[in-house]
Amino acid sequence: MPVPEWLRLRRDKNVQAEDASLWEKCPKCNEMLYRKDLGASQWVCPRCGYHFRMHAYDRINSLVDGDFVEIGTDILPTDPLGWVDKRPYKAKLDRDREKSKLSEAVVTGFATLDGFPVALGVMDFNFRGGTMGTVVGERITNLLEEARRRRLPCIVFTASGGARMEEGMLALMQMAKTTQAVQRFMADGNLFMTVLTDPTTGGVSASFAFQADLIVAEARAAIGFAGRRVIEQTIRQKLPDNFQTAEFLLEKGHVDMVVDRRELRETLVRLLDYAVDRSRLTPTLKAVPEFALQ
């Protein structure tokens, strides 16, 4: 699986999922929104503030100063269990690749945010529901190892339905792998931040998502360990509407803050400014792609 998509992606900043229609209906206020406007407003409904799920590259474009140097694109999925149900796993991967314009459920690389060089990982629900298989685990681990080598802060945006069933126990083991990588990274005194976006559940929430120094939740995102349906089936009753929302988690003390997407970049920059000593960044770390390609 070579890289042709990326070349296309470079040109189109607001690449979106396969549905190429011009209009999108806000599921909260029913407003019909022009996709191009939505792209410009970071996929937040200008009328009611509803946060659409965001494509990884749109997210990256909304955050970084200039260039984004992607790494880990040579880490690509295989079919370790030879899984076939309705369709073979490989076919599912092909379809998601086509539909999402992504090679897997996370994009990793380097960039600067208001001049702060950071290692950045962004998960995308459009690819297999953001599930963590071996590629997500390996790319996140690789990102943390590369960031550790360069002593850069690392920020990961999570969006995940949990572990990827079709990779079985190999998927589950990515929880152990990523947790270990985070622990090593943080033990060196580096800053690890996560931004939990809609939805963040299962194996991703129970590993690196909730292991961070700072945990920011995007407004109204659904976040938890067990899925809502599983809980409802277990307790045999409907859950309150706010259950497992970012706001609920804030009250329960699970996250440091809840931020509206439109203020997210500014907030992250402010947090970096507190947590990272800007004066100690070496000149080579200040520019991309120089530092990333070391």
């Binding site: 699986m1 990326w6 070349l7 992606l9 470079r10 474009n61 260039d67 984004f68 992607e70 790494i71 880990g72 694109t73 040579d74 880490i75 690509l76 295989t78 370790p80 899984w83 149900d85 690389g109 071996t134 590629v135 685990g137 390996e138 572990a163 990827r164 069933m165 079709e166 990779e167 079985g168 126990m169 190999l170 998927a171 589950l172 083991m173 990515q174 929880m175 152990a176 792998k177 947790t179 270990q180 990588a181 622990q183 194996g203 929430s205 129970a206 909730f210 292991q211 360990f225 067990a226 349906r229 809980i231 277990t234 859950l239 259950f243 329960k252 003390g253 699970h254 792609p289 390609l293």
Partner: protein
């Protein structure tokens, strides 16, 4: 109803008859014929278990559970509580001696009967249980005691309270603490190893699995519900998930299998438990000479290599998005 219990019925009856006959006249032809029949039946039922049959074996109501292993230790003293909120009976923990060796034990505990199962929450651990585990992992590190865990859970508790008290954080914290631990860690999968709730106490230097135990990314029911919206298709999911000990040994996810008697561990519970403990002791002996750093490095590498695949022909730094 448990599939294996169903199938065993005829066999158990027949075995009882043989025993009775043998008492009367051990050398009779009838006994020999019946003995052969029992043997055949055993092989017939248990010779080639499907993954779904193994799931049922792992859930067999007579299968040795954590308390059976704890009872077979030289000594065990339970320690309680997360120091913050509650003592979770689904996770038993404490000091133990195993062949004279001082260890810290963490175990997921199902119940033998309905009453105990309710008290133990069917072995589904709540955040408090994982926080107790974490506290005692740290204590083990502090005192230099190896950590031994017994995994037997369908998964972490999926209740409202567990979400309200951040089950996700509790599991992630266990994984972090096991990563940091400066002592040997041996995990055993004795029954069901379900999802992150199992892994939370199974990130280890050496993972031992009972032959008929299962260990999977989700319970077959959960997997079927997630993928096909129908938990009744669990047998099919079990087939796909590669959750048997043989599969997992092949993937390098577990390190060792302890064979069970034909028909399952419960058919010789004491013997099997003893063999499992001996296997643990052996693993601990192997890990004992290693320094804390050596242990942690080997542990890192062990998980680091799972699922690491790089297309070496491709570019390392692939694209610059401008």
């Amino acid at each position: 109803m448990n599939l294996i219990v169903e199938r065993e019925k005829g066999l158990v009856e027949l075995e009882a008859r043989v025993t009775a006959l043998r008492e009367r006249d051990a050398a009779s032809d009838e006994v020999r014929v019946l003995e052969r029949k029992v043997e055949e039946l055993r092989r017939d039922i248990f010779g080639h278990l499907t993954p779904w049959e193994r799931v049922n074996m792992a859930r067999h109501p007579k299968r040795p559970i954590a308390s059976d292993y704890l009872a077979a230790l030289d000594r065990f003293d339970e320690l309680h509580g997360d120091r913050h909120f509650r003592d979770d009976p689904a996770l038993i923990a404490g000091f133990a001696k195993l062949n004279g060796r001082r260890v810290m034990v963490l175990a997921q505990q199902k119940g033998r009967d309905t009453k105990e199962n309710i008290r133990r929450n069917f072995g589904m651990v709540s955040p408090e249980g994982y926080r107790k585990a974490r506290r005692l992992m740290e204590l083990a590190s502090h005192l230099g005691l190896p950590i031994v865990t017994f995994v037997d859970t369908t998964g972490a508790d999926p209740g409202i309270g567990s979400e309200e008290r951040s089950q996700a954080e509790a599991i992630a914290a266990c994984l972090t603490t096991l990563t940091e631990a400066n002592v040997p860690i041996v995990a055993t999968i004795i029954g069901e190893g379900g999802s992150g709730g199992a892994l939370a106490i199974a990130l280890a230097d050496h993972v031992i699995m009972a032959e008929n135990a299962v260990y999977s990314v989700a319970s077959p029911e959960g997997c079927a519900a997630i993928l096909w919206g129908d938990s009744a298709r669990a047998p099919e999911a079990a087939e796909h998930l590669k959750l048997t000990s043989q599969d997992l040994l092949g993937f390098g996810i577990i390190d060792e299998i302890v064979a069970e008697p034909l028909g399952g561990a419960h058919r010789d519970a004491a013997g099997f438990v003893g063999r499992m403990l001996a296997t643990i002791d052996n693993a601990l002996a192997g890990l004992a000479p290693l320094s804390a750093d050596a242990l942690r490095d080997a542990r890192y590498t062990k998980y680091r290599r799972i699922g690491a695949r790089r297309d070496e022909s491709g570019p390392r730094m692939a694209s610059v998005l401008t």
